[in-house]
C-alpha cells in the first residue's frame, strides 16, 4: 500500500511539474506572437490611419502585410485581436483574424481568459485617439484548469508592451 501511494504521488508530482513548465512556455510564446502581430501593423499605411478600432478588450488595424503567409501583400488587410469563445474544449481563446478569418498559423492562442488594452501616442502618453496610437500595453490573464483540481484553475497575469514599429519607421 505504501509503495502504491508513493507511486501515485510520484506520478502526480510529475504531472504538476509538466503543467507548470508548459504553461510558462505558452505565456512566453503567446507574448511573442502578439508582439509580432502588433509590429507588423500599418505596413504601407499612413501613420494616422493604422487603427480601425481600439477598445479595451479588442483591437483592429490595417496593414498591407499578409499575416497568414507572412509576406508583403498587394491588398490591404484588416487584422483583429479579440477574446472570444471557441467551439473547442479549451473554451475562450485569443483569436487573431485577418479579414474576418482566423489566421492559419496563430489564429487561436488558448488558455487566455481576458485581455486589457491601453494605448499610447508617439511620446508614450496614454491616448484614445485612433490617429495618435503608436503603442499599446496588453495585459493578459492566462487561465488553465489544473490537472489535479479542475474546479480551482490557476490564473497568471502578464503585461506586454507592443509597438507599431512600422508607424515609428515612418516617423511616428
Amino acid at each position: 500500500m505504501m509503495m502504491t501511494t508513493f507511486q501515485i504521488q510520484l506520478q502526480e508530482s510529475a504531472v504538476r511539474i509538466q503543467y507548470v513548465s508548459s504553461m510558462i512556455d505558452h505565456m512566453d510564446v503567446a507574448a511573442s506572437k502578439v508582439n509580432k502581430t502588433f509590429a507588423l501593423a500599418g505596413v504601407g499605411m499612413p501613420v494616422d490611419s493604422v487603427c480601425v478600432y481600439a477598445g479595451t478588450n479588442r483591437v483592429q488595424f490595417r496593414t498591407f502585410w499578409n499575416c497568414d503567409s507572412d509576406t508583403l501583400s498587394a491588398t490591404r488587410h484588416i487584422i483583429e485581436m479579440k477574446i472570444d469563445t471557441t467551439s473547442t474544449a479549451f473554451g475562450k481563446a485569443l483569436i487573431i483574424t485577418q479579414d474576418g478569418a482566423p489566421l492559419e498559423n496563430l489564429g487561436y492562442i488558448f488558455y487566455i481568459e481576458a485581455m486589457a488594452l491601453k494605448y499610447f501616442d508617439r511620446d508614450g502618453i496614454e491616448t484614445a485617439q485612433l490617429a495618435d496610437i503608436r503603442s499599446a500595453d496588453v495585459l493578459f490573464t492566462f487561465r488553465r484548469d489544473s490537472p489535479w483540481n479542475p474546479g480551482s484553475p490557476l490564473r497568471s497575469n502578464l503585461q506586454v508592451k507592443c509597438f507599431f514599429m512600422n508607424s515609428y519607421l515612418k516617423g511616428a
Binding site: M2, M3, T5, F6, Q9, L10, E12, S13, R16, I17, Y19, V20, M23, I24, M27, D28, A31, N35, R122, G124, R134, S135, L139, W148, L154, S156, N157, L158, Q159, V160, K161, F163, M165, S167, Y168, L169, K170, G171, A172
Partner: protein
C-alpha cells in the same frame, strides 16, 4: 515477529512517511512555482519593452543614435498592480566595438552602441534577468 523485524518495519514506515511528506510539500509549492515563473516571464517582457522603445525612437528619429548612450543609462522602478511586485530596471548603454565588446580606448563617436537592460527586485526573481541589444549606425 522478532525484535529485528519490528524495527525494520518501523524504519520502513518512517522512510515512506518522510517520502510522502516531501512529495506533498513539493505539490503545495507548485502554485508558488507558477507565480515565480510568471515573474521571470514578466521580467523578460520588461527588458523587451525597454529595448523595443529604443528601437522605435531610433526608427522615428525621436532619438539620435549619438544620444543613445546618454539616454539609456538609467535606473528606475516599475510597479505592476496585477503582480503586486515592484521591479527595478537598470539600463546601461556604452560605446562598443562591432562585436559588442568594450572599447580599449573611449570613443564617443563609435558606430556601435550596446544597451544592457537588467531587471531585478522581486524575491521570486532569484537572479536578475538581463537582455542585451547591439545598435549600429547605418545612415552616415
Amino acid at each position: 515477529m522478532n525484535l529485528l523485524e519490528m524495527i525494520l518495519a518501523l524504519l520502513a514506515v518512517v522512510l515512506f512517511t518522510t517520502l510522502s511528506l516531501s512529495y506533498n510539500q513539493s505539490i503545495w509549492r507548485q502554485t508558488d512555482y507558477i507565480n515565480n515563473a510568471t515573474i521571470v516571464v514578466q521580467a523578460s517582457q520588461l527588458c523587451h519593452a525597454i529595448l523595443d522603445e529604443a528601437d522605435a525612437k531610433l526608427f522615428s528619429k525621436q532619438l539620435d543614435i549619438s544620444n543613445l548612450v546618454t539616454t539609456y543609462n538609467f535606473t528606475r522602478t516599475q510597479t505592476y498592480p496585477h503582480l503586486s511586485e515592484t521591479f527595478v530596471i537598470q539600463s546601461v548603454a556604452v560605446n562598443c566595438d562591432s562585436l559588442g565588446g568594450n572599447l580599449s580606448t573611449p570613443n564617443p563617436n563609435s558606430l556601435f552602441k550596446r544597451v544592457v537592460v537588467t531587471v531585478s527586485g522581486p524575491g521570486a526573481l532569484r537572479r536578475p534577468y538581463s537582455m542585451t541589444r547591439l545598435y549600429t549606425k547605418t545612415n552616415m
